[in-house]
Amino acid sequence: MSGLVGTTALILAPGVPLALGVLWGFPRLRRHIGPIAPWAAIPALLLALFGIPGETVELSWLLFGGYLGLTDTTRVFLFFTALIWFAAGIHGRGHLAEGDHCERFCVFWLFTLAGNIGLIVALDVALFYTSFALMTFAAYGLIVHDQNEIAQRAGRVYLVLAVLGEALILMGLLLAARATAAPLLPMLAELPQAIAGAPERDLIIASLWLGFGVKAGLPLLHFSLPLAYGAAPVPVAAALAGAMIKAGLLGWLVTLPLGFVGLQHWGTIIILTGLFAAFAAALIGVNQKQPRVVLAYSSISQMGLISVGIGAWMVAPELGPLLAVAITVFALHHSLAKAALFLGTEVVRHRTRRPALWLWVGLGIPALALAGLMPSGLVAKASLKYGLLANAPVPEAWSYLPLLLGLAAIGTTALMARHLWLLRLEAGRDEAQPTAWHGWALITAATVLGILLLPLWGIEVPWMAAAGGLIDALWPVAAGLVLAAFAWRWLRPLPIPPADALMLLTPLPGLALRAGQALGVTGPAVRRGLRHLEAKALDRYRRADHRLGRFTEQLWRRDASLLFALLLAVVALIGIRIA
């Protein structure tokens, strides 16, 4: 793309949805915006396909000065993000153009989309953070769209965690920006190096890791995922699980000091957390009773695997190039597959005219991909293993990683099996919508074929390693299926609520309110006490004052002359004494 076109495309990608969202403010235009809302992601998609990395746009008037551009990594992210939004948009046309509160839904949709794309194309911190916040808060409107109890609870949890995340990110970014050359206009690209050299490095890494972790479903910050995915409308859930969860990952990738300095302890912590997430999420997920919640736990589990890659990158900076590819590929693979699975949950509910076989094949494809058997899954997992085991001085313990990844794949397989099993129970419940399957078909196709586009962005796909890993990939799937069959026959799911440990933490947000109330209660209590005292004192004072006032006035008045004489005498005496 030539310069001008490229520049325009960079602005249009986030600008079109934003502009549509603003235009929505005019009531007369509202009717027309709903039908075109799904297409708002198209400029971004085109940009991802044809944009050139390195091209930048400066918007000096924006915030502290804004920069837009693409890098090698963000192109891939932009691609799958835009594609998922597009597919979900087509799928969700019903929500966007008609139905209850479709207008409100539409505007939140557009703003969330604008934010999501904006954060990918942003090059400077301010714009990145702005877009991130826009996406986060607009998505709330999408999550609570159905307005039932569950959606409201999900929204509440999401919002509390999101605010917490935003605050942590802001803290991390501020501290990191301080370490850059220009703290008032920091570029994203400068952050990793600056953080690596900052005195508050650990604090920065912690706050950024946890802050973005809210989006990326870190254990104990993940509660909003199962709740929101379960409660939001399906297209929203697809966008959340496919696109927005990767915003957290992108946050990690662009800010954490990856590849500059080996951070042994942080890498280890991240790897261990990732592994914990991968297994714990699988264990909890298989006990869930709702397909979308199962998928949510699968997402947490998969993000745990990606975390392993990031942690490894931190420990061994020299693995950077390989791991970068692996993480990007993994992200692409997981997003598309997960989005396809989510859209599928709704497609399967409708009585479609398609033969059931095709439907189930279509539903199976992303499931298999996640389990690691489709090309994309194979490539993703293989590149991760390849990255981890490349020739580099890595800790001894890493030799167990492939095994652990394999075990995690068993979990994934079990989750997928559980998901499909649950789907079967839901199939064919609702009346068909004639176009409901278009988006799903598009994204399923992308799941299969998306991997082929990687060379377009200059990413070397390790096909050979992938082929070699086929055998490695088979045994976990087989084991997972056996386990699933066993479980289906003999085990009943444990009663674990969708947001597992949240119950234990629920009192926490209330504490702040209590503190405010306590201050407020002490205030009035103290004030009441004071007022009581004051009233008493005032009463006494009034009486005393009355008497005293009368007394003194009478005294002065009756005996003014006596007083005068006394003063006269005193003064005369003093005068004589002084003399």
Binding site: E553, Q554, R557, R558, D559, S561, L562, A565, L568
Partner: protein
């Protein structure tokens, strides 16, 4: 003690007596009389001290004459007010609070 000092001390004595009367009495007419005694006392002081070895001095004379005029005027005013007060309230002394 020179005659001048005798005059002066008698004046002071009169002033003191007048002051005592002024304080001791409630009846307004008595207080007015006491005031006039005080006035006479101070005139006596003025005349007496002024004679202290400097021959005849006209200034105190002028002052005393003026003072007497003022005292007469004051007494007259006081009597007017007293009469009206007596008529309005029937009392010869001042109430202790209003």
């Amino acid at each position: 003690m020179s005659s001048a000092l005798v005059f002066a001390w008698s004046g002071v004595l009169l002033f003191g007596l007048g002051l005592f009367g002024f304080i001791a009495h409630r009846h307004l007419l008595r207080r007015l009389l006491a005031f006039n005694i005080m006035g006479s006392g101070s005139f006596l002081v003025l005349i007496g001290l002024a004679q202290d070895g400097r021959g005849v001095d006209h200034v105190p004379h002028a002052m005393v004459i003026t003072g007497i005029v003022v005292a007469v005027a004051s007494t007259a005013l006081a009597l007017v007010v007293f009469r009206r007060w007596y008529r309005a309230s029937g009392r010869t002394d001042l109430p202790e609070d209003t």
